[in-house]
């Protein structure tokens, strides 16, 4: 190595080359590893969510033979009738041996509160069933449901178990009589929020999310793109644009709850828009996502090679034509990426919605931009905070729906991104 023959420099180069190739290999492996690590984390998270949440798509139901007693159901005052009484008397007739207040209460607890609401809806929908007896599948209570799904173990000491021994006996009997079974949980997709896990549904929050995001997307994408285009292509490059640039970068770091405070001050207190509505939520999230879209949009515009611009200008296009016809389409993939990320962020945000009243218990399903509504992440947060254990699986199931929503939203953007993407 030290002797200075003509061969030695070649050897040196070869040795160096081997090292360079090694580095090359490692670099490539590192890259692949980074991708794999991220995907592995995604996998872990998804598996945890699906593992916890998949059981929520099933629900335990109990079959009751309800006699719609004309004495209980006064046709003139159907909304005030004693529907829980109907359920209770039926349970008592199924288990006539149950005596005493405490045991009776335990018996009633087998069936959800929703049973009474369900009967009410049936009667209100069709008064002709009054006086008849009908078999009705009603939802079981959350504890029974958890037990049936194996989340409450029989082997635990009775005092530590939410389902008591005597209730176990009843459940076993119901099971031998084929009166209890698991079914698809359609309530979850059709109902609004509820404090009873077995009655809680995601539809209200989903509608709220869709309405809110429509507002956000409709405003933040055009405004964001327009701002990025103006700042990058038209604005004179001086102190002012520097200030604007720093300012926009800075907005991205403002904690989201501060946007909520701003929204409260401007939209609700100043413009007098109502609280808790998707319109205001969407407006607040617009302010929050704008910086993301602007920053990524500017980065994308910067990445368009000057040659493209010069070519366009060279053949006589105006500046506006150059931007609109050539630069913007080429920068679109990057802008769409920014929009995807911004919307993903908007889709997951709870804090700014707190001050404008969207962290709320809302049962009715919102139908317009000015109905009170909540959104999926808020729903998830509220459920995760609920004492009832059965909300754990609902929380995960809601997260699954949220992710599905996100993925389908992204799929559209990815499709568009692919369409615009060009290599040069």
């Amino acid at each position: 190595m030290n002797n200075k023959t003509p061969d030695s420099s070649r050897q040196l180069i070869q040795k160096k080359l081997a090292r360079r190739y090694r580095t090359e290999k490692w670099f490539r492996r590192l890259g692949a590893m980074a991708v794999l690590i991220s995907i592995a984390f995604l996998g872990i998270l998804l598996v945890t969510i699906v593992g916890k949440g998949s059981s929520a798509f099933q629900q335990t139901f109990v079959k009751l033979d309800i006699h719609f007693d004309a004495e209980v159901l006064d046709v003139k005052n159907l909304s005030r009738a004693n529907y829980p009484g109907l359920v209770k008397s039926n349970l008592r007739s199924l288990f006539p041996e149950v005596k005493g207040r405490r045991d009776k209460k335990k018996l009633y607890n087998l069936v959800s509160n929703g049973a009474a609401f369900q009967l009410q809806d049936m009667v209100m929908g069709d008064t002709s069933i009054i006086g008849r007896t009908k078999s009705v599948w009603v939802p079981a209570s959350d504890d029974v449901d958890l037990f049936f799904k194996g989340k409450i173990s029989r082997d635990v000491v009775e005092s530590n178990r939410r389902i008591k021994d005597i209730q176990l006996k009843w459940i076993d009997r119901l099971q031998t009589e084929n009166r209890i079974e698991k079914r698809l949980n359609t309530t979850f997709f059709t109902a609004g929020d509820s404090r009873d896990p077995e009655l809680a549904g995601i539809r209200g929050a989903l509608s709220g999310t869709i309405l809110t995001l429509i507002v956000t997307l409709a405003l933040s994408f055009p405004i964001g793109v327009a701002t990025a285009v103006y700042l990058e292509e038209f604005a004179p490059k001086n102190k002012w644009t520097d200030i604007i640039e720093v300012n926009i970068n800075n907005l991205a770091a403002v904690p989201s709850i501060v946007f909520g405070l701003l929204g409260l001050a401007v939209y609700i207190n100043f413009f007098g828009l109502p609280r808790s509505v998707p319109l205001v939520g969407g407006l607040v999230l617009t302010l929050m996502t704008l910086p993301t879209i602007i920053i990524s949009g500017r980065a994308a515009l910067k990445a368009v090679p000057p040659s493209i611009r010069e070519a366009a200008l060279g053949i006589g296009a105006s500046r506006m034509q150059m931007v609109m016809h050539h630069v913007l389409p080429l920068a679109m993939p990057g802008m769409l990426t920014g929009t995807i990320i911004g919307m993903a962020q908007a889709l997951g945000e709870t804090a700014p919605l707190l001050t404008i009243g969207m962290v709320a218990f809302i049962v009715d399903i919102p139908g317009s931009f000015i109905d009170p509504a909540t959104v999926m992440p808020v729903q998830i947060y509220l459920w995760a905070d609920s004492p009832e254990r059965a909300f754990v699986e609902k929380t995960s199931a809601a997260i699954m729906i949220l992710l599905l929503f996100l993925i389908s939203m992204n799929a559209v953007a990815v499709f568009l991104r692919k369409k615009f993407e060009k290599s040069w």
Binding site: S79, K105, N113, F117, Q120, I152, V156, S159, N160, R161, R162, S194, R195, D196, I214, V215, L217, A218, L219, F221, P222, I268, G272, L273, P274, R275, S276, L279, G282, P329, L354, T355, G357, V359, A360, F361, I362, V363, D364, S368, F369, I370, P372, L382, A384, D385, S386, P387, E388, R389, V392, L416
Partner: protein, 347 residues
């Protein structure tokens, strides 16, 4: 590209056209404490599902934020009721008056037990309030008996009281902004501090200092401020059998297969013991109503009636199933009358 622009334009049209029509409010709007939220929502749902009125909207904003919204004025843009895990403050009441919210009706709905709990993998703790004070206060009386304070030297429960296990003091509890924490220091720690005669004597002489001694929680890592997600605390307790958590009774009730309540002064935190008033750490929960809204907002009267009915907050009511500790019979009756007559609060 053009088609997408058209789609966006269409969406914008709907957004704009909807925004302008700020509709009349035909539902009850409630704000306030996250501790009362689980109870108020149950009543709201029951009310919404059994009557023709819309379900009241219940926001979880925290007691302070709720009061601010509640007291900002009369009118549909302001909430009709606020939940609170503490009584209204004089300054807040004055704020209300200043903003034209003259007739505020105070309603106590029941009690919430605050429990200390640990994992069932270890034995339950037998604590006294004195133990709690010594374990968690920032400065404690000198163990030698001298009447002075030293920074809390205790590392393990055994150091605090030889009858307790020899594990590190590790308590997961709410942050100082929480009403739960406020009630906990007042009831448990102050109750413990009183056991030292010289501290108790200080109450008369130097109330400020007395409160400061009793209410200040240590900040050296033994007390962990864990945020308000009580489910997370429960799960952390399960993962870490040596830790003790502080949270509302309903979470203990729901998770009784993993965790157990610590005995305080020999009393176990069970529903019966708290309701009897034997368990020392429980605090009242309230809501406040704007009288002038009652007969104007549709459904408000009915909602109040539902909330104050025996089937909701009574001993066998559905709120007790959720962990609310009912008031004694006489108090309940009194409150029910107050709600009926909408007796305004005076301060």
């Amino acid at each position: 590209m053009k088609r997408k622009l058209a789609a966006i334009a269409a969406a914008a049209i709907f957004a704009v056209s909807a925004g302008s029509a700020n509709a009349a409010r035909d539902y009850v709007s409630v704000v306030g404490s996250s501790t009362v939220y689980p109870f108020a929502t149950v009543v709201a749902e029951q009310f919404g599902k059994t009557t023709k009125f819309k379900t009241p909207k219940i926001e979880s904003t925290g007691s302070g934020g709720g009061m601010k919204l509640f007291c900002s004025g009369i009118g549909i843009q302001h909430p009709d009721m606020t939940n609170s895990s503490r009584r209204i403050k004089k300054s807040e009441f004055d704020q209300c008056q200043a903003n034209g919210v003259q007739d505020v009706v105070e309603v106590k709905i029941g009690y919430d037990g605050i429990v200390l709990a640990n994992s069932k993998k270890t034995a339950p703790f037998q604590l006294t309030r004195k133990d709690i004070f010594l374990a968690l206060a920032k400065d404690v009386p000198d163990p030698s008996g001298a009447e002075k304070l030293i920074p809390n030297p205790y590392k393990t429960w055994h150091d605090v009281n030889p009858s307790l296990p020899d594990t590190k003091i590790e308590v997961l509890g709410p942050p100082p902004t929480s009403g739960t924490r406020d009630a906990f220091v007042e009831l448990a720690m102050e109750g413990g501090g009183k056991n030292f005669p010289w501290i108790k004597a200080m109450k008369k002489v130097d109330k400020k200092r007395y409160k400061a001694i009793c209410h200040t929680v240590r900040e050296d890592g033994a007390y962990i401020e864990a945020g308000e997600n009580d489910n997370l605390i429960v799960q952390k307790l399960e993962a870490n059998p040596n830790a003790v958590g502080i949270f509302g009774f309903s979470f203990l009730d729901q998770n009784s297969d993993f965790i157990q309540g610590s005995f305080i002064d020999g009393v176990e935190p069970t529903f019966e013991e708290i309701a009897d008033g034997k368990y020392p750490v429980s605090r009242p929960l309230y809501f406040y109503v704007k009288k002038s809204h009652v007969d104007i907002i549709p459904g408000m009267e009915g909602f109040l009636e539902e909330f104050s009915s025996e089937k909701a907050w009574g001993e066998e009511g559905y709120l007790t199933d959720r962990g609310l500790i009912p008031m004694p019979d006489a108090e309940r009756k009194q409150m029910h009358d107050d709600v009926k007559q909408l007796r305004p609060l005076e301060m």
